[in-house]
Amino acid sequence: MGIKLTLIRQPTVPLEAEVLCPDTLADCSADEIAQLTIYHGKRQLPLSDFFEIEGEKSDEIEIHGDLKKVRWIGRGMSRGRLKIQGDVGMHLGAYMRDGLIEVKGDAGDWIGAEMKKGTIRIDGNAGGQIGAAYRGSRRGMRGGLIHVTGSAGLEVGMRMRRGIIVIGGSTRDFTGLQMKGGTILLGEGAEIRTGAWMNRGTIISLKALEVMPTFGIAIRQFTPPFMPLLAKALVSEGITLPENKSFDLYNGDLAVPGRGELLVLSS
């Protein structure tokens, strides 16, 4: 039996609730959970002011409601599972170290920012800076998987070092900006400046997209040898890759100069 939290009062300003995290809740009784501090703007309030709480002492957590204004859920979580029914706000699973976050709804910006391990699944759309580095940091996500079935915003995977980001839909500008490693898979392509200033790492697009002028074509109609491996790794996450497709391989960004790979499905 896990813990179920239901939003009972709509925040009027952002509600910062990093305590909504298995690591914190797993050791708390129902009363202790009710008394955990959350921040409604600058006001420090008990969790029970905004949430109805059922269950205690578990790292299996379900949260229900329109959580668009609720930020920092699952910050730094290292275990357990967070299931969210409804839209959720910024910084979901930021600095995550392990465990699973599942969202049925849309998510905000900065999900999985600087995460190290674990899985985030969004059954919906997400905002920008997914798996990205926070301002000034040298590295974004360092491991784990982020899967968004819908579309996503700007700077997806900015400065990521390792790990996988899968976006079912399309992304906006600067996907894989200054990427240092890892893999980004784009189901429906991206707007512009994909892979700008990337150093290493791989961006795979299953749809044609605008390639930066500072990427050179390396091979046309190429079947990447690692695709079956990637497909196998993703199958367990419920993601199926099209088989036996060939791609155009671009290298860049020459401005850095970097050795990143951009694979675009051959037309």
């Binding site: 995290c21 926070y134 900006l177 400046r193």
Partner: protein, 321 residues
């Protein structure tokens, strides 16, 4: 990440033999920039003044500044970032194809010429305006130019500087940096400064409806911001300080008329190169200064109960759980 390599305007006046204006129209927006700081001045290093300097203008359209330039490069709208990134590659002698270059609206010859002039310069300076920093790509467009300038130092002396408009916006930047560590986009809701443009920057905050009161000073968002942002300002209590009744005053709960800075109010303003200048007001205003009114609001708030409950200590938001 790159960072920022810059100088004061006097350095440009004395030394810059190669000047690029990118996405700005100084002839109309900063009318004395050419004559006072960059093109027209003679110095001991550049005794012939204008004749000793080369000026390149990069913009999406011909403006009045073209007349002052030696070379005008018309970049296709929305291609500034691509063009700067190509230049970064060309500077490092990386291969970029003709077709790729032409997508920016410019020819290989033009870019080769630009790169060789940049490398041959003794002291190069790039100024960039809102045509670069406020168009698609925004901060990344500025970062691109700053990075190009930093990288040029492998070949010769090069610096870059934003052409800040809007009066004393530079002063706000500088002061926020020393008081909070960050230049803008700050939240104190945990009792200490946090920074995240996009999260705490005003347009985003207003469009998402993230604040429940607004204090507006020395700006008129009611006349300049997108409609959803203005709608939120109408919904919440808004307070305006301004020498005039502005668009924002008209939607505000409170307006206080103040003396205009530098005309009727004394103080300091920072130049775009972060040099502070003393203000010498000529007129005596019937209105109080911004400084006085905000200080009195601070004093009135100090008399009310402090928002952090006694003995409470808000947690920092960090990587540590």
């Amino acid at each position: 990440m790159g960072g920022k390599v810059t100088c004061t305007l006097g350095e440009v006046k004395q030394r810059a033999d190669f000047i690029i204006y990118w996405g700005g129209n100084p002839a109309e927006c900063h009318p004395r920039h050419f004559s006072k700081y960059t093109l027209m001045q003679k110095s001991k290093f550049l005794p012939k003044g204008r004749k000793d300097r080369t000026m390149v203008l990069v913009d999406i359209r011909e403006t009045k500044s073209v007349k002052a330039s030696d070379i005008f490069l018309q970049v296709r709208p929305g291609k500034d970032f691509e063009l700067i990134t190509i230049l970064r590659a060309l500077v490092k002698e990386q291969q970029v194809t003709d077709e790729q270059i032409e997508e920016t609206g410019l020819s290989r010859e033009a870019l080769n010429d630009l790169v060789s002039r940049m490398k041959a310069a003794k002291f190069g300076c790039m100024f960039f305006g809102m045509g670069l920093s406020m168009t698609r790509g925004k901060h990344m467009n500025s970062a691109a130019l700053l990075t190009l300038a930093a990288e040029m130092n492998a070949f010769t002396k090069f610096v870059a500087m934003p052409m800040r408009g809007h009066g004393n916006v530079t002063g706000a930047d500088v002061i926020m940096r020393w008081q909070t560590g960050f230049p803008f986009g700050i939240s104190f809701n945990r009792g200490y400064p946090r920074y995240n443009p996009g999260e705490f920057s005003t347009i985003d905050v207003l469009v998402r409806g993230d604040c429940d009161a607004a204090f507006i000073i020395g700006a008129d968002p009611g006349g300049t911001m997108p409609q959803p942002a203005i709608n939120h300002l109408k919904r919440i209590p808004t307070i305006v300080l301004d020498p005039h009744i502005t668009h924002t005053s008209k939607l505000a709960r409170v307006h206080i008329t103040t003396a205009a800075q530098g005309i009727a109010a004394p103080g300091t303003a920072y130049r775009m190169d972060e040099i502070p200048m003393p203000l010498k007001p000529a007129l005596k205003s019937p209105y109080p200064s911004d400084e006085e009114v905000v200080r009195r609001i601070n004093e009135a708030i100090a008399k009310k109960p402090f928002w952090l409950p006694e003995g409470s200590m808000p947690q920092m938001v960090t990587e540590q759980v």
